[in-house]
């Protein structure tokens, strides 16, 4: 609205001040007005009988003159004479106030008559006093008699005037009294009206000011309870509350936007993670496919059958050691073909490793020492097949000094708190930290260097169990041997399957 432009700031304050000012002024004006009116009327009422009072005063003065002259004439004392003169002057002064104009009005004429009669009376009394002083007894008695008569007439007229005045004044008084009643009623009405007006005004303004505040606070409450689905607070006032409401609405909107943004982000991240995981398993499957194709590249049945034929031949030629050797080789192939891509028990794996070591022993005479220390309760532990043999092969190929005497490969299986610890240790060349890191980091390298390779083992373990830290290489340096650890979780399916 136009008006509001004049009060760009502190609108609520202005509004409140205006409200209070209007009501207070209204009440004030009413009160002052009522007071002034009653006051003037009361003053008027007060003056109504003034004319009567004046007449009574005049009568009293006249009476004083009369009694003092009587006293003087009787006693001839100078005191009485003085009091006569005193009263005489007073009467004269008082009678000056009376009307002397000829006006066509009964009371005015009466007043004029009274004034003239007082003059006559005073002339007569003066005369009487002079005659008394001149000791003219007869004359002053006569004058005094006349004065008394005049005194009577004056008093009669004063009474008459007084009565008329009193009647008129009483009429006036009655009118005034009825007016006073009417005005009293009017005053009352006006005060009531003002009060009602003020109350309505205050209520309206208060409601107008507080309604948006209450709405705001309600909305704030709901938001405080975490409910962001509040309707926009509608405030049409153009004051500070309007500004507040606007700010509030903006704030609610921004909070809502912010929350939805966070939610979107979280969703996006989740999706990303899923995709990553998918990618991973894709690779795994690829690897597996690689492995399977590799395994199937050699016809295992052919090899196996050939070797079996070798075993038959050796037995026929009574070459028992050859037969045993070939049988071990055959067994090696058989295990590989049968178990490839499947799980095996720890016992089967150990058996396979021992077959392999027998073949190695046969190849490299008995310079290779093999030791095992196995917790027998773990024989039935299920684990991916072809897990141990590649490690042993690695130890043999890289770790051991082939010509050195006392080369030892040791397999230790221990039950740790929540997992089985399989350790394949050699006392060979050992590995530097650098080499260890190289092996560990090459885990995703596609180019496996012949055989199944360490990295393949590592990958398979972590894929199978879904954990990364299940493989560890320890070495205390060059020439101090290498320990390769495989940790199989015990609380998983593995044990249960067994």
């Amino acid at each position: 609205m136009e008006k509001s432009k004049h009060f760009p700031k502190n609108k609520i304050r202005t509004r409140l001040i205006l409200c209070f000012l209007i009501t207070t002024t209204l009440m004030g004006i009413t009160n002052i007005y009522v007071y002034m009116n009653v006051n003037t009327i009361m003053k008027k009422v007060d003056t109504i009988y003034v004319s009567n009072i004046n007449l009574n005063e005049l009568s009293t003065l006249l009476n004083n003159v009369e009694s003092s002259i009587e006293a003087y004439l009787l006693t001839n004392s100078s005191d009485n004479l003085a009091s006569y003169f005193n009263n005489f002057e007073k009467l004269k002064l008082k009678s000056e106030e009376l009307n002397s104009k000829i006006i066509d009005d009964e009371t005015a004429l009466l007043e004029k008559n009274i004034k003239s009669m007082i003059e006559t009376y005073m002339d007569v009394t003066d005369k009487a006093v002079k005659e008394k002083r001149a000791r003219n007894v007869n004359r002053y008695a006569l004058s005094y008699k006349e004065a008394v008569k005049l005194y009577g007439y004056i008093n009669e007229y004063i009474t008459k005037l007084n009565n008329i005045r009193f009647q008129n004044n009483t009429k006036q008084y009655i009118v005034a009294a009825s007016n006073l009643k009417y005005i009293e009623f009017l005053n009352f009405t006006i005060i009531i009206l003002t009060i009602v007006l003020n109350i309505i005004l205050i209520l309206l303004i208060t409601y107008k000011i507080t309604k948006p505040i209450i709405e705001l606070s309600n909305a704030a409450d709901r938001i405080a309870e975490g409910n962001f689905d509040v309707r926009e607070v509608r405030v049409e006032s153009d004051d500070e509350i309007g500004v507040m409401a606007l700010a509030f609405n903006t704030m609610v909107k921004s909070i809502k936007n912010y929350i939805s943004e966070i939610q979107q982000k979280a969703e996006l991240e989740g999706k990303l993670k899923e995709q990553e995981l998918q990618n991973l398993s894709m690779k795994t499957y690829l690897k597996e496919a690689q492995l399977r194709s590799f395994q199937s590249q050699i016809d295992p049945h052919f090899l196996y059958n050939t070797l079996n034929a070798g075993v038959q031949l050796a037995i026929m030629e009574e070459a028992d050691r050859t037969g045993e050797f070939i049988e071990n080789v055959a067994e090696l192939f058989r295990y590989t073909t049968r178990k490839s891509g499947k799980t095996a028990t720890l016992g089967e794996e150990i058996n396979h490793v021992e077959n392999y070591i027998y073949i190695l022993k046969t190849r490299f005479s008995s310079r290779l020492k093999y030791e095992k220390e196995i917790d027998e309760s773990l024989y039935n532990l299920v684990l991916p097949s072809m897990l141990l043999q590649p490690i042993v092969e690695n130890a043999f190929v890289h770790g051991l000094d082939q010509l050195g005497a006392g080369n030892t490969i040791k397999i230790t299986v221990k039950r740790k708190v929540d997992r089985a610890e399989i350790c394949i240790s050699d006392n060979g060349t050992g590995m530097s930290e650098e080499e260890i890191q190289k092996v560990m980091n090459k885990r995703w390298d596609e180019k496996a260097e012949g055989g199944i390779g360490i990295s393949n083992v590592i990958n398979r373990i972590s894929l199978f169990y879904g954990a990364a830290d299940l493989f560890e290489i320890k070495s205390e340096g060059k020439g101090k041997g290498t320990q390769m650890y495989i940790y199989i979780p015990l609380d998983g399916e593995g044990e249960k399957l067994a």
Binding site: M1, N37, I103, D105, M117, I190
Partner: protein, 346 residues
């Protein structure tokens, strides 16, 4: 929208408030005006030229009330204040008192009825000595220093009454009872003049005889008693002549009360509405009416002349109206017209 409603409400509220205030103000002011009027009258410069005192015989009598109207009218016409005083019923002492008061009040002129010439003459003389002109009204005090007389010519009045009596009596033997105010020193010579006039106009009628019933006292009841006595005890009297309005009414009432209407003819004085009504009904045969209003008017006129020219005619008579059943209707209409006109001007 709400904001406009609020504004409208506030404006309406303020308008109602101001409206009430306005009513309130006007009421309060009205009251102020009411009480101020009196003061205004006194402060106004509508000062009149002279202040005359009129002293009448009896304030209650219709004659004097009519006279007062005439005097008031003259007062307005000549711009003088007329103060009208007098005893309620005839009373010499009181008349003198008012005369004394008028003198002491130093009025500009005194117009007075004379109830007792002997007693009142010294006061009249005193007033004239003091420079207050005096005009006698309706009754004269020829021996005093009064400047002028306004009233009925008694002789003429007697003549008119005589004529009326003759008319009423026609050929019948008639005894006329004259209710004769014969108070001590009370305008005796005037009444003698009246009787002279009556005699003069009836002397050629031998069938008419007179019986004078003296009323010795000015008390109200004395004349009433006299009238009733004559009606009850004297069979011969078949006509009553009353010399003032009050007696005329008393006689009419007595005749009605005693059921002797038609039997006794009443001839009276004055023209107040009651008397006129009796004439209409035939209870009263006829009256002679002094022109009271005219007298009132003329007295003031004469006094103003006296004040301004120092002299006026010494003897001012007013005309006499004879009212009987024949002309009463016309008379009433004329009188009403005149009085209405004069009242209306007040």
């Amino acid at each position: 929208m709400r904001k406009r409603d609020l504004a409208i409400f506030i404006i309406i509220g303020l308008i109602v408030f101001l409206f009430t205030m306005a009513i309130y103000l006007s009421t309060a002011n009205k009251f102020k005006v009411d009480s101020m009027e009196k003061e205004d009258l006194l402060n106004k410069e509508n000062v009149l030229k002279y202040h005359f005192a009129v002293i009448c015989e009896s304030m209650d009598e219709p004659f004097w009330q009519s006279l007062r109207k005439g005097a008031k009218k003259a007062g307005e016409d000549f711009n003088v204040a007329v103060e009208f005083n007098g005893p309620r019923t005839t009373n010499v002492e009181e008349e003198i008192k008012y005369l004394e008061i008028a003198i002491a009040s130093k009025v500009d002129g005194i117009i007075t009825h004379i109830s007792d010439e002997e007693k009142m003459t010294p006061y009249i003389d005193k007033a004239v000595d003091m420079g207050i002109p005096v005009i006698t009204l309706n009754n004269d005090a020829q021996s005093s220093m009064r400047q002028s007389y306004v009233g009925v010519n008694r002789y003429n009045l007697g003549l008119e009454w005589g004529k009326l009596i003759a008319l009423a009596a026609s050929d019948k033997d008639t005894v006329v009872g004259i209710i004769y105010p014969d108070y001590k020193n009370f305008e005796s010579n005037h009444h003698e003049m009246i009787l002279l006039g009556i005699n003069e106009s009836t002397k050629s009628y031998p069938n008419i005889q007179f019986k004078i019933v003296s009323v010795k006292d000015s008390e109200i009841f004395s004349s009433e008693e006299a009238i009733r006595e004559i009606l009850i005890n004297d069979d011969h009297v078949n006509m009553i002549l009353c010399m003032n309005a009050a007696d005329t009414l008393r006689a009419a009432k007595a005749v009605v009360d005693l059921n002797r209407v038609g039997d006794v003819t009443i001839i009276g004085y004055h023209d107040n509405p009651e008397i006129l009504n009796y004439i209409k009904n035939g209870v009263i045969y006829g009256t002679i009416a002094g022109d009271a209003m005219g007298m009132g008017y003329k007295s003031i006129e004469a006094m103003v002349e006296l004040k301004e020219n120092k002299r006026t005619s010494e003897f001012i008579t007013s005309k006499l109206n004879v009212i009987t059943n024949d002309n009463v209707q016309k008379y009433i209409v004329d009188k009403e017209k005149k009085e209405y006109f004069e009242d209306g001007e007040k």
